[in-house]
């Protein structure tokens, strides 16, 4: 069980920093997903762990050893690339054998490793084909097989599903989850921009933003207790609504007033110093519901667009004086029409409160 530890890891190209002060402990056998918008540095971070990019600050430990200057092949890692990166002139078997042949393993050992990987990934019938004669999903399985035969301590996946079509992506995602179960002792680090992949695969998710870590936690942790507005809006789909509001009551419970006059009391302690401060009230679309007649509504606004998806109805309402629409995800085929004024409310226990971008639930 080999852990990966990052201490103050940074990367800059000349004067331009792309990653700064990354501290992260990944336990042996853990499945960690790096997720973030494009350009956040998640792939760069993975490539630094792989040894394909030089680390310009901090130290990287794999299995307790500092590996900053260890060549990639000796770090005990294997990587699966987004573009598969199969050797086009080699058959599936040769692709998987390559690393072992370079390492001068015995023929019997190589054959056993390749057969085993082919069996796990159901590639046995295709062993003598060239990559160009395989479908996208099969190619990605070969790429995974090439990683498996090396029996690495750490698997690195760089957006492995991005080049697959939607159906295949789901199937391959499940295969990767099954692979993790078969190899419980292997650490896996997986980069994606797709939050569904992150939520379904990860033991822990690392949300990266603008060259730093925004939050680390289990998938549900990030969903239920986002540390900041970025994570709140990044995890969950559609994104969490952030309503501008004013904190009018502090203490063991917090009273928040929306510009329309509606007030809500959150079971959340706030410091007295924050009295009267501008805050953002966070409500997930799936937590908004129609207010029962006679009860106060949090939001009262006309429907702009209603998307009926069958299982849910996504409603966009715009409050007067607000540019951004509030999104509500109502269960089933809710009978809402365009222009109709909706009265929406939510359970205060499921609401979030942010001050200057940070969650007030923290600490």
């Amino acid at each position: 069980m080999a852990g990966v530890e990052l201490h103050g890891i940074g990367k800059s190209y000349g004067e331009v920093p792309v990653l700064q002060g990354i501290d992260l402990d990944i336990a042996g056998g853990e499945f960690v997903v790096f997720v973030g918008p494009s350009g956040c540095g998640k792939s760069t971070l993975l490539r630094m762990i792989a040894g394909l990019e030089r680390i310009t600050a901090g130290t990287l430990h794999i299995d307790g050893q500092v590996v900053n200057d260890v060549p990639p092949a000796q770090r005990g890692i294997a990587m699966v690339f987004q573009s598969y990166a199969l050797y086009p002139h080699m058959t599936v078997r040769e692709n998987m054998e390559f690393a072992l042949k370079i390492a001068r393993k015995s023929k019997a050992e190589i054959a056993a490793a390749v057969d085993n990987a082919a069996r796990i990934l159901q590639l046995t019938p295709y062993l003598d084909r060239l990559p160009k004669a395989l479908s996208g999903g099969q190619r990605q399985r070969v790429a995974i097989g090439r990683a498996i035969v090396r029996d690495p301590k750490v698997f690195l996946f760089d957006e492995p599903l991005s080049n697959l079509d939607a159906a295949l992506r789901v199937a391959t995602r499940i295969e990767i989850a099954q692979l993790k179960e078969r190899l419980p002792g292997r650490t896996m680090i997986y980069v994606t921009h797709d939050q569904i992949e992150a939520m379904t695969l990860a033991d822990r998710i690392v949300v990266l933003n603008a060259g730093g870590i925004a939050q680390v936690g289990s998938p549900l942790d990030l969903y239920e207790r986002p540390d900041n507005e970025f994570v709140a809006q990044f995890i969950g789909s559609p994104a969490m609504n952030l309503l501008p509001a004013v904190l009018v009551g502090t203490g063991a419970e917090s009273r928040v007033q929306l510009p329309g006059g509606a007030e809500v009391v959150l079971p959340l302690a706030t410091a007295a110093a924050l009295q009267g401060q501008a805050v953002k009230l966070g409500v997930r679309p799936e937590h908004l519901d129609l207010a029962a007649p006679g009860t106060p509504a949090l939001i009262e606004a006309p429907v702009e667009v209603a998307e009926k998806l069958g299982d849910v109805t996504v409603v966009y309402v715009t409050m007067p004086g607000e540019a951004e629409a509030v999104i509500a995800k109502l269960p089933g085929t809710a009978p809402v029409a365009r222009g109709e004024v909706l009265r929406l409310t939510a359970d205060p226990a499921r609401m979030h409160l942010f001050h200057e971008g940070k969650s007030l639930r923290r600490g």
Partner: protein
């Protein structure tokens, strides 16, 4: 001045002639088969079948006159005597097989064929992969490519100076002899040293063609997906292993095209031999032999026979080259 006027007139007539032909013939076709009226659909279909020939026509005609017709004429001439008057059957071919100079030419051509494409491609590949890793690689590339811009005759003149020999008591101005003297050796008449003089002639063509090979191979090397190289790095391959096991196999098609392109060029090699030794001292090659019989021996029969031999040698390589190039999508 008169020549300049003629050249300009030729260019103008050529360009306007082409424009007039393509525009005019298409206009006529549209008049003859108007794409409207009661038979619009039928007319469009017919015009679409005729139109490619309007574009292809001039090229087919010119190729026919300048390439296909000469082939048949050569075959006819090779079966006739020196003046192209009397039918002599296979006499020219029998002479060819027995001729010592022809055998020398075939052997030399074979040597050229083995050495020049191999050396040019190899040096080109080395230059391409090394210059791609240098900061001043582009400068190095343009220097290596520059000989491509020099005519074969010009290159031969340059290299003649390198191999130059001056008699006893005169200062050696040839680079090679100057170097030899500098190391205390005796100057040589390099171009008369059989069989090494053949290699010295080949050096000229290698010098020219390395640039060509480098440019094409460099583009191919850059086309290799970076990830496959990174994957090989992760698999533990050394730079040399990556080059031979990952990079070269991926550009194999391009290497083959470069190789065969140079091979075809080598089979036709003529100017270099003509300018440097004129086929003396055991350096004769087929194209120069043909030239000799045609314009010095005034024997169209024998010259045509040699020409046909060259064509027979080039054709299979050419076909293979075109096929590979198509597959590579170059």
């Amino acid at each position: 001045m008169e020549q300049l006027a003629f050249a300009s007139a030729t260019i103008v007539i050529g360009i306007f002639g082409c424009v007039a032909w393509f525009w005019g013939s298409n206009w006529l076709l549209d008049r003859a088969l108007p794409p409207r009226g009661p038979h619009a659909g039928r007319n469009i279909g017919r015009a679409a079948r005729v139109r490619p020939w309007l574009f292809l026509g001039p090229a087919v005609l010119i190729l026919g006159v300048y390439l296909v017709w000469p082939v048949f004429l050569s075959i006819w001439l090779s079966l006739h005597d020196a003046a192209g008057q009397r039918f002599v059957g296979f006499d020219n071919w029998r002479w060819l097989i027995a001729d010592g100079k022809f055998r020398e030419s075939i052997l030399n051509n074979l040597m050229w064929l083995l050495v020049v494409p191999a050396a040019s491609t190899l040096f080109g590949l080395i230059a391409a992969s090394l210059t791609d890793r240098l900061r001043w690689g582009d400068l190095a590339k343009s220097l290596i490519f520059m000989p491509m811009a020099i005519s074969f005759i010009g290159a031969s003149v340059i290299w003649k100076f390198i191999y130059d020999f001056r008699g006893e008591g005169q200062a050696q101005i040839g680079l090679l002899n100057a170097v030899v003297e500098g190391f205390g050796g005796n100057p040589q008449t390099w171009l008369t040293l059989t069989p090494w003089n053949n290699l010295m002639l080949m050096a000229v063509l290698i010098w020219i063609q390395t640039g060509f090979a480098m440019v094409i191979l460099s583009a191919a090397l850059r086309g290799i997906p970076e990830e496959t190289i990174e994957a090989a790095v992760l698999d533990g391959a050394s730079p040399l292993q990556i080059f031979f096991k990952i990079k070269v196999p991926q550009i194999w098609g391009t290497i083959a095209v470069v190789w065969t392109t140079i091979t075809i060029l080598v089979l036709k090699v003529f100017d270099i031999v003509l300018a440097m030794t004129n086929g003396q001292w055991g350096t004769q090659v087929l194209a120069n032999l043909m030239f000799d019989w045609m314009f010095r021996g005034n024997d169209t029969g024998r010259a045509s026979t040699v020409a046909l031999v060259i064509m027979l040698l080039v054709t299979p390589i050419m076909i293979w080259n075109i096929r590979t190039a198509r597959r590579e999508g170059m």
